[in-house]
């Protein structure tokens, strides 16, 4: 008889407290999926930096604190928190989430959209970010945009953390844009400053043949908050996704975005602005896989880094052997504004087809001195001049959204960030 001796791995602080959060008060629906996820976490732990995808974001070191699963807040608290965060756009139907829990306040949905406010089945990649979501998610929604529905009105997915210290708030959204449909979605996460919490968000978006989705992801977590999130997209034939991401909050943000371009003629546009200041660590890790011929993707990020902020952008483009005539372009431009901040940009191309066009570029610059001098020579203070030039750098990306009220709302968010950090 052979005996196998397992030496239990010593858990890091972050792993220990996450396990404890689950074990001390597991979710009511303590089902098999959750058990599998938490056991995988227990066994494999959080990713180490030896994993390429986590090279710049050491979750084992960064994920620390006390956690318990956030309880459903009172109706009153749930409503009250919203007043501190005015909507980005007034005319929208909003699905409200508070501390990971869904609240139905009777927002009327536009025609062509169906919502089932049940926690969708676990999804996402087989990794720590998805496992944490599976283990902890309190609620979620499945959203269907019906075939050929052209939905003009914006649908919002709004998560606010109400301020309960040391809590894990997790939610999951599954969105299916049926063939030929079109819609506009705003997915926004906000939270109070100076409150420690972990927000886990997982979105699965399936864009069927010929459907178009315009999606804005506005990350405005509180300045002490952690966010571990995953956004997974599958695209069918001639499907279009225009995704805009704003990072303007959070102490630790790991936002994974994964795209599988599965249908010929599909068109993927990703753009984003990452504002990294104070002590924040903001990581956007993107993977685009072109599986079939004749698809294209464009990805553009503008980053502003200051204070002791640390920014990360990893952009992987995989072109499978079958995916001839792929056109994939990626650009990552960064302003580094202080001596103590840094930004790591890692473009990665893996190409197995021989007839493709792929381009990537990354630049790092400081603010142009001659511009500063010109603005200041007109009486504009150094701070205001600096803000104007930062704004100019990022506004170019925001203004591509072609929706004036939304552009203005996002620019206001950028202004608020600059008032705090520049």
């Amino acid at each position: 008889m052979t005996m196998t001796a397992h030496t239990p791995r010593i858990l890091t602080d972050g792993e220990t407290v996450l396990m404890a959060a689950y074990d001390s008060a597991p979710p009511a629906d303590h089902n098999e999926a959750r058990t599998t996820a938490i056991n995988a976490l227990r066994e494999l732990g959080l990713p180490t930096r030896r994993l390429e995808a986590f090279h710049y974001t050491d979750l084992r070191a960064l994920l620390r604190g006390k956690y318990k699963i956030a309880e459903r807040p009172s109706e009153e608290d749930a409503r009250a928190i919203g007043t501190g965060f005015p909507r980005l756009v007034e005319d929208a139907s909003v699905l409200h989430f508070r501390d990971g829990h869904y609240f139905d306040w009777g927002d009327e949905l536009p025609k062509g959209i169906l919502v089932d406010a049940q926690l969708p089945a676990p999804a996402g990649a087989d990794d720590a970010v998805a496992r944490i979501n599976t283990a902890f998610a309190s609620s979620g929604a499945s959203i269907t945009i019906q075939a050929n529905a052209e939905v003009e009105k914006i649908v919002g997915i709004a998560h606010a953390h109400t301020g309960a210290e040391d809590t894990v708030a997790a939610m999951r959204t599954c969105i299916v844009a049926e063939s030929g449909s079109s819609c506009r979605l705003i997915d926004r996460a906000v939270g109070k400053n100076d409150v420690f919490y972990l927000h886990s968000s997982l979105v699965d978006l399936d864009i069927k043949d010929g459907a178009t989705v315009n999606y804005v992801l506005s990350i405005e977590e509180g300045d002490a908050a952690q966010r571990l999130a995953q956004f997974n997209v599958t695209m069918g034939e001639t499907a279009t996704l225009n995704l805009f991401i704003l990072n303007a909050g959070g102490k630790l943000v790991r936002q994974e975005i994964n795209f599988d371009v599965m249908g010929e003629g599909a068109n993927l546009n990703i753009s984003g602005v990452n504002l990294v200041g104070g002590e924040a660590h903001i990581d956007v890790t993107s993977r685009i896989t072109h599986h079939v011929p004749d698809t294209n993707s464009q990805e553009t990020f503008r980053n502003v880094t200051t204070g002791r902020g640390r920014g990360v952008f990893q952009g992987q483009i995989n072109v499978r052997q079958a995916a001839q005539q792929t056109d994939a372009r990626m650009a990552c431009n960064t302003l580094l504004l202080s001596d103590d901040c840094d930004f790591s940009a890692k473009p990665e191309l893996e190409i197995f087809a021989d007839d493709v066009q792929c381009a990537h570029g990354a630049t790092v610059t400081d603010i142009e001195e001659s511009y500063m001098f010109y603005l200041m020579a007109r009486g504009i203070s150094e701070t205001r001049a600096r803000r104007m030039l930062i704004k100019a750098f990022v506004a170019e990306i925001v203004e591509e959204l072609e929706d004036q009220p939304l552009i203005e709302a996002l620019e206001r968010r950028i202004d608020i960030w600059m008032e705090q950090h520049v």
């Binding site: 001659s370 511009y371 001098f373 010109y374 603005l375 200041m376 020579a377 007109r378 009486g379 504009i380 203070s381 150094e382 205001r384 001049a385 104007m388 030039l389 704004k391 100019a392 750098f393 506004a395 170019e396």
Partner: protein
């Protein structure tokens, strides 16, 4: 209004001395022309007045309306009424001209303790100033100076000057790169701003500009010093004899 005494300035980076004991006094209401050959220190003087960081003042003083100008940073000087019309205005992509103008005008109003301009009032003023300088208002929908021709940039400088209503204007070779018609427009713009409470320093190579903006005083700058001062006839004398004669006679 402006009193420069025994000013010595060097380039901070390589310590090359450019201004070597310059004295100049400009009174309110005066238009003073500073003329000189290439490399005499004309542009350096304009940058030192505006507060550009690349220069080091090693000796001397600049007093502006009784205040030590050197105590103020670039934006404070501008807000205090000093305006430099650039020889080469930069193009600033992404900053809308109108946003820039409003920000600049309000910065100065704030300095003077006045309320910010309302948007209609602001637009009204810009429209009027643009019309006077024959500037197509649509041009102002572009980012600052982006895609402007050389002449358009100079006109835009004068537009800013008229909107900001400075007390001391420094025109750094505003005539360079201008055709005759544009020169006239720009000069008319400057002349409109002539006022007993306002001083103008016109820095130029050529007498030509001074036919349009007639100076009260003319100063010849050579090797970082004012070597000769006179009235407008000095400019004509320079045009006739060239810098070399005047400078060697003055030495």
């Amino acid at each position: 209004m402006l009193e420069i005494k025994d000013l010595h300035v060097r380039i901070a980076e390589d310590e090359t001395e450019i201004i070597r004991g310059l004295n100049l006094s400009v009174a309110a209401g005066e238009v003073a022309a500073i003329m000189g050959p290439n490399g005499s220190g004309k542009s350096t003087l304009s940058y030192v007045l505006s507060g550009k960081e690349d220069y080091e003042i090693t000796q001397g003083s600049i007093t502006y309306n009784g205040e030590n100008l050197l105590d103020l940073d670039v934006s404070e000087r501008a807000a205090a009424g000093l305006f430099l019309a650039f020889q080469y205005p930069v193009e600033i992509p992404g900053v809308p001209t109108m946003t820039f103008l409003k920000e600049a005008m309000n910065a100065q109003r704030k300095q003077r303790g006045e309320d910010e301009l309302t948007t209609p009032e602001f637009i009204k003023r810009v429209r009027a100033a643009a019309a006077a300088l024959k500037i197509d208002f649509n041009m102002l929908k572009r980012p600052v100076n982006v895609g402007f021709s050389g002449g358009e940039k100079k006109r835009a400088e004068i537009l800013q000057m008229s909107l900001l209503e400075p007390k001391l204007c420094v025109l750094d070779e505003t005539d360079s790169g201008l055709d005759i018609d544009a020169l006239k427009v720009v000069s008319d713009g400057v002349n409109m701003l002539r006022d007993p409470s306002r001083a103008v320093i016109v820095i130029t190579h050529y007498q030509r500009l001074l036919d349009h903006i007639v100076p009260d005083t003319v100063h010849v700058l050579s090797k970082g010093q004012i070597v000769k001062s006179g009235d407008k006839s000095l400019a004509l004398e320079l045009e006739e004899k060239g810098y070399a004669d005047i400078i060697s006679a003055a030495a």
